[in-house]
Amino acid sequence: MTDRLKFIWPPIIIGVLVLAAWQAIVVVQDIQPYLLPAPSLIAENFFGDISLMWSTAIYTAITAFLGLVLGTIAGVLMAFLAQRLIVVNNLITPLAAGLAAVPIIALTPILNNMFSITSRTPRVLVTMIIVFFPMLVNVTRGLVQVQPVQLELMRSMNAAPRTILRVLRVPNAIPFFFTGLKIAAPLSVIAALVAEYFGGPQEGLGSRIASSAANTAYGRAWAYVVAAIITGLVFYLVTVALERWTTPWADRTRST
């Protein structure tokens, strides 16, 4: 317990200090809200409209969640295919780097034209594509990178490739799956939010940040940013909890 406290206190103290310094600078230097609103103003907006914050965050969270689930399913299925096709696992890294360079968010206007702009579909699709790559890369790695001696052992026990997949590769890939999911989960919130910048329904965090800023309601815009940070954190923490619950054997190697 004391060990855990040691890890908890430093970030809290630093966070409080940064907020205090921010507040002090804004007040002392008399900085205008459109440049940088004070933390007190942001808090006022956040707690003053907490139910709106909640419903707005939920709207974006649903988009993110749908994209996360679909992208994860697609990434995992593709990883199983890749495991069969990719002989040299060194191929995965350059492939991933190449794919990561594609500006997927920029596809949103195109998707908005392809699908109804008034629906959630284009945003879910963007989120799904963003989630797809970290899942594909990590799960493929988990399926391919098994210890050679474990493969030899399975062969010595006369195991067919399908059995090796089930008994060795899939369990081996589960920690890798969660590594991917820990990247993908917060990313899905960012993707869903940024996709909202390109028009369509106005209920989400991205839309509201943009419209608040356009209406010079800077405190409110920042309050939505805070709501977005909290949403991303919740996605991440749920993933970490899920990981601990499902892979207790990986405890010793886990860093977080």
């Binding site: 210890q147 001696v149 030899e152 052992l153 010595s156 026990m157 006369n158 195991a159 008994v167 369990p171």
Partner: protein, 272 residues
């Protein structure tokens, strides 16, 4: 010599050539002839690259001989692997972290389709044999290196194969643990009557464990000598200090030196 169909392992004119006919051609095994009797303990010893692991892998059907015939308990290595006529242990324990110790031992039985209750009972019986009953529900990484190797040995015995193939199973252990493990292995051998082919770098280990020590030499990998070890069936800590033991160690050492020679080999001998 007994009939080939009765020997635990029978190798006749085994050649293993990697990249045959290509620029990087390597003769890993050259005309290897070896017969391991049922119930016999045979060690393969030699410097790196002498083909001792390759010979074990040919026996296990993990790689194919280029030429020659090999039988394991009277059938081809491929049939022996399909029928699970051998169990195998490696230098790394190769346990699965996501399985408990007991379920690691159950793995070969699971692959053979044993029922849950039967394989559980068998695994617990084997864990008792390797004196790890208290650790059945632990995770492999909670165990020391020596304990992990004992789990690996229990797993290799799971289907009760007549033959054990062991590729430097104690190579990564410290000297004290290693000697304890050697005593354990001898006890298990007495209790089960298995035939064992054991690959090692260590001369005292080979001598202490074996009925015969097969001395191999590299470039090309071949058998250069077979040294019988007249220490009898009952061996314990006193054996390690007996004159017979020293004589056998010296015989193996000279067999190794005679065919490899040089300072490198003396250093290798000196390390153990």
């Amino acid at each position: 010599m007994t009939d080939a169909t009765q020997a635990a392992v029978h190798a006749e004119g085994i050649w293993k050539i990697f990249n045959e006919g290509q620029p990087g051609e390597v003769t890993a095994l050259q005309d290897v002839n070896l017969e391991v009797q049922t119930g016999e303990f045979v060690s393969l010893i030699g410097p790196s690259g002498c083909g001792k692991s390759t010979l074990l892998r040919v026996t296990a059907d993990l790689t194919e001989a280029t030429r020659g015939t090999m039988t394991v308990a009277g059938v081809t290595p491929h049939q022996a692997r399909q029928k699970q006529l051998y169990g195998m242990a490696f230098q790394q324990a190769a346990l699965f972290d996501w399985r408990t110790v007991r379920r690691n031992v159950e793995l070969p039985l699971e692959l053979m389709g044993w029922s849950k209750d039967k394989r559980r009972a068998r695994a617990l019986e084997l864990l008792e044999m390797v004196q790890l009953s208290d650790f059945a529900d632990h995770r492999p990484w909670q165990l020391s290196g020596g304990m992990q190797q004992r789990v690996a040995i229990a797993r290799s015995l799971a289907v009760d194969p007549p033959l054990l193939l062991m590729d430097e199973p104690f190579g990564a252990l410290d000297e004290m643990t290693r000697e304890r493990m050697q005593n354990e292995l001898l006890r298990i051998r007495r209790e089960t009557g298995k035939s064992i082919v054991f690959v090692t770098h260590s001369i005292p280990e080979a001598v202490y464990l074996s009925d015969r020590v097969v001395v191999m030499s590299p470039r090309p990998g071949r058998i250069t000598d077979i040294v019988p070890v007249p220490l009898g069936a009952e061996r314990d800590e006193d054996t390690r200090e007996s004159d017979d033991f020293f004589h056998a160690v010296t015989a193996v050492r000279e067999a190794l030196r005679g065919h490899v020679g040089g300072a490198e080999n003396r250093a290798r001998v000196g390390e153990v």
